[in-house]
């Protein structure tokens, strides 16, 4: 049963690599910010799945913290580009 989590984490890592292409090569700043936000969401999922694969339940606290940091970071960046200041 633990193999399912390993396969899921591997596929999520491949998906993050696909999104990383858009973060590196995407034209303009907005494509890059959007791709970084999506990679952050996939990092949360990867932390939850790897918490079961390594049997470490405190990975979920890190996932909660990372969700909040990712949301605040994206919001601050969007407002900074929109207004030119913070």
């Amino acid at each position: 049963m633990i193999t399912i989590f390993f396969v899921a984490s591997l596929l999520i890592t491949i998906t993050m690599a696909l999104s990383l292409y858009r973060a590196v090569a995407g034209p303009g700043v907005f494509n890059r910010v959007a791709a970084v936000n999506i990679i952050g969401t996939k990092t949360i999922v990867l932390l939850v799945v790897m918490g079961y694969y390594f049997e470490r339940p405190y990975f979920f606290d890190i996932a909660l913290l990372y969700a909040m940091i990712n949301f605040i970071g994206t919001l601050v960046f969007a407002k900074y580009i929109e207004r030119g200041e913070l």
């Binding site: 907005f30 969401t41 996939k42 949301f71």
Partner: protein
């Protein structure tokens, strides 16, 4: 117990499928707005389904610690509120900055 394994596998597989479809949309679509149209929904649903699968697995595998499924439920709730909000904020910033939406027949950008 086999029912639980089948349900968890189906939820994880569906979630990973949605995440992969969102990433392929992020690569393939021609414009910033269409890219976020693909990923803003697929990514939220994929993350929610994977975490729901982990929650079901924990609920039947380790029934003595019920704090962890509560944390995961809060994580699903937070992602379902925060991810569309972040997508909307980026889109509004791009629209106010002057990024033109793509029309049929134009170049990819």
């Amino acid at each position: 117990m086999i029912i639980v394994h089948v349900v968890v596998t189906a939820l994880l597989g569906t979630g990973v499928f949605f995440a992969m479809v969102g990433s392929i949309g992020l690569l393939r679509f021609p414009d910033f707005y269409t890219r976020l149209h693909a990923t803003g929904k697929c990514d939220t649903l994929g993350a929610g389904l994977v975490i729901l699968g982990a929650m079901v697995y924990h609920f039947f595998q380790y029934p003595e610690t019920l704090l962890v499924p509560a944390k995961l439920a809060f994580l699903i709730l937070f992602i379902f509120i925060a991810n569309p909000t972040a997508t909307h904020a980026i889109m509004k910033a791009a629209y106010k900055t002057g990024v033109e939406p793509w029309r049929l027949g134009e170049e990819r950008r």
